[in-house]
């Protein structure tokens, strides 16, 4: 157990200075929660990459995993600690005056209900994890099976598992989750099911922490609590998390990218660091699941348009350079894996120009996909979409900087999923939709909640009318005044 905790905690701790350096001065409330969750995503993602690099380099180096990884993480931690010290900035900026409006009993009741929801959701999640140590079907048929191949075959024969003879294991799927699990087993010395369970728990709780922390920092603490509570009230999200699927780690990366995109729009300095960090998370999304490649493409598109508007071509080139530099370690792994190790993806391999033209010109496919998406949107999370729509309409909206970009990115991701379904090689599109749509929605659920709670008016604003004091949102450095449209 100690080895497992150290194996997972080490990279996370070493990523903390880098995250503090990137967020320096941008967030002055809930820093600890935002830094912790982003460091968790970065540290675990990079640990998966170093494990893959170790597998690749083992033939030549013949060193142990620890001897290979330790200097890498130590150097990362040292460089960014030095950068923080040299910039004479504290590891975390001191909290400034916040203006939570004390609204008495009503607010306390909301806080109480939120706290109990989080406690119940977390307890239910832990119990479900305990009851299914091997996860659900895709976990033992794909993700944990791949981890077993990587661990049991050892560094000499790890490539043999990526064979087209067992195509149902999807050997082209990226390795963030199986790599992390196999890496943990290398450190523990046995194939404890605690490793995949702990990884599932970290990403599920990390998503809720980042969502609550980011909304809390950008709007108000009570709004952040509500956002996290709504996420933890979703049985789909918790079930897919406890099933040890890669969809929740991907959801966590997508949320991180969108949070950083919004922070970058709001920041008045050090924007390049936020762009670099967002690029790293976008590449980690691509290293988690093939859908993450779409996340990387959509982020690049939205960020490029934002940079072009703000600073012209020069800013775009600089932004692309920073993004490429920050994501290079992950992209190297991804490109090597996709070109040298994995067989081609079944969705792509099954495509032909004639088939695509036929599928795209078939109106029935559009209707079927739209119907399934609408059905999923309505039924997901015990009808939470309808509840949230009513809640938003009654509470009112508030224009919020950066939210346009986040909504555009989510819409682009949905459009990408739509296109993938439209051109699906599955002979039975309905079966493909039934198999995949719920998980695709889970991937976007935390990001969708983030965008929603960013624009909907907060309970603080409703319970105590604005009296002209400093706006809550200004606890993000450089944030322009929000415009009330409620």
């Amino acid at each position: 157990m100690t080895a497992l905790v150290l194996a997972l905690l080490g990279p996370v701790v070493s990523a903390v200075p880098a995250i503090c350096w990137c967020l320096r001065g941008c967030v002055v409330r809930f820093q600890w929660l935002i830094v912790a969750t982003l460091a968790m995503g970065t540290g675990l993602g990079l640990a998966s990459c170093t494990f893959f690099l170790w597998l690749m380099a083992f033939d030549r180096l013949r060193v142990s995993l620890l001897a290979f990884e330790l200097p890498i993480f130590a150097v990362i931690a040292a460089i960014f600690t030095f950068a923080l010290w040299r910039g004479r900035d504290p590891l975390l900026p001191p909290p400034t005056r916040t203006d939570e409006r004390n609204t008495g009993g009503g607010q306390r009741m909301v806080i109480g209900a939120v706290a109990i929801t989080l406690l119940f959701g977390a307890s239910g999640f832990v119990l479900t994890l305990r009851a299914s140590p091997h996860g659900d079907f895709d976990a033992f048929a794909i993700w944990n099976l791949r981890a077993r191949f990587l661990h049991r075959a050892g560094p000499d024969r790890w490539r043999d598992g990526f064979t087209g003879e067992i195509p149902w294991t999807h050997p082209d799927y990226p390795l963030l989750v199986p790599g992390l699990v196999a890496r943990s087993w290398y450190y523990t010395g046995d194939e404890t099911t605690l490793a995949p369970r702990l990884i599932a728990l970290l990403f599920t709780f990390g998503s809720a922490g980042l969502l609550g922390g980011a909304v809390g920092a950008m709007r108000s603490p009570i709004q952040g609590g509500l956002a996290a509570a709504v996420l933890f009230a979703s049985p789909q999200f918790l079930n897919i998390g406890s099933a040890q699927y890669a969809d929740v780690p991907l959801a966590c990366s997508i949320l991180s990218v969108i949070v950083l995109l919004v922070l970058e729009q709001r920041a008045d300095r050090d924007r390049w660091r936020l762009i670099g960090l967002a690029a790293l998370f976008a590449s980690l999304a691509a290293w988690t699941k093939n859908e993450g490649i779409l996340c990387m493409a959509t982020w690049l598109m939205v960020q490029t348009v934002a940079l072009m508007r703000r600073g012209g071509r020069r800013a775009v080139w600089k932004g692309l350079g920073v993004a490429l530099m920050a994501s290079a370690p992950v992209l190297v792994c991804l490109v090597y894996f996709k070109t040298q190790v994995a067989p081609s993806n079944d969705l792509v391999a099954g495509l032909s120009l004639r088939g695509i033209v036929e599928q795209v010109s078939d109106g029935g496919r559009y209707l079927l996909i739209m119907k399934k998406y609408a059905q999923e949107l309505i039924t997901t999370g015990r009808g939470v979409t309808i509840v949230l729509a009513c809640y938003g309409l009654l509470m009112g909206w508030r224009a919020s900087p950066g939210v346009g970009q986040s909504i555009t990115m989510i819409a682009a991701l949905v459009a990408g999923y739509f296109l993938a379904h439209l051109t699906s090689y599955w002979s039975d599109l309905s079966a493909h939709l039934n198999y995949s749509v719920d998980r695709l929605f889970v991937q976007l659920y935390p990001a969708g909640l983030f965008a929603f709670f960013l624009v909907v008016r907060t309970p603080d604003e409703v319970l105590v009318p604005s009296d002209g004091r400093k706006d809550n949102a200004s606890t993000i450095a450089g944030l322009p005044k929000a415009r009330d449209t409620g």
Binding site: G106, M109, V110, A113, V114, I116, T117, L118, F120, G121, S123, G124, F125, L127, T128, A131, S132, P133, H134, G135, D136, F137, F140, A141, N144, L145, R148, F149, R152, A153, R157, D160, G161, T163, E165, I166, W168, T169, I222, L226, A229, V230, F232, A233, S234, P235, L238, A243, G381, R382, V384, V387, Y391, L394, M395, P459, V462, L463
Partner: protein
């Protein structure tokens, strides 16, 4: 009215998470087929596991009770026996693993194929070496 909206949302979230917790408390040992995987891991395939070499390509055959159950046994067997690679419904590989629910049933090799018993693992599981007539 707006005063109560946030509280209503929080209470709805609380109700949903309470229902989730109640369900989680009642989960049995068969949840997500955990009991079956544990049985395969701990008992059913142990002998086969010890005999197979890593990266051995092994044909996998099973008796066909229910269509859904059939593939399920294959997936669980592959999970347990990795890094050996099980090729489903292939009786011509140099080695074949037979996983029958009925321990009294015997495999009938296709014409021109001869099976030599390598290991009787018990409970309907056998490992055969395969020879194909040329």
């Amino acid at each position: 009215m707006k005063k109560w909206l946030a509280l209503s949302l929080a209470i709805m979230a609380l109700a949903s998470s309470s229902a989730y917790l109640v369900q989680a408390v009642q989960l049995g040992p068969d949840y997500r087929s955990n009991d079956e995987i544990s049985y395969y891991e701990g008992l059913r395939l142990t002998a086969a596991c010890q005999t197979l070499r890593p990266w051995e390509r092994v044909g996998f055959l099973e008796d066909q009770y229910l269509a859904g159950e059939r593939l399920w046994k294959y997936y669980v067997s592959q999970y347990v026996l990795a890094p050996a690679v099980l090729i489903n419904d292939d009786p011509t590989r140099p080695m074949v693993l037979v996983n029958f629910r009925d321990p009294n049933k015997r495999i009938q090799p296709p014409t021109g194929i001869h099976y030599e018993l390598l290991k009787e693992c018990g409970g309907g599981v056998w490992l055969y070496r395969v020879r194909v007539d040329r």
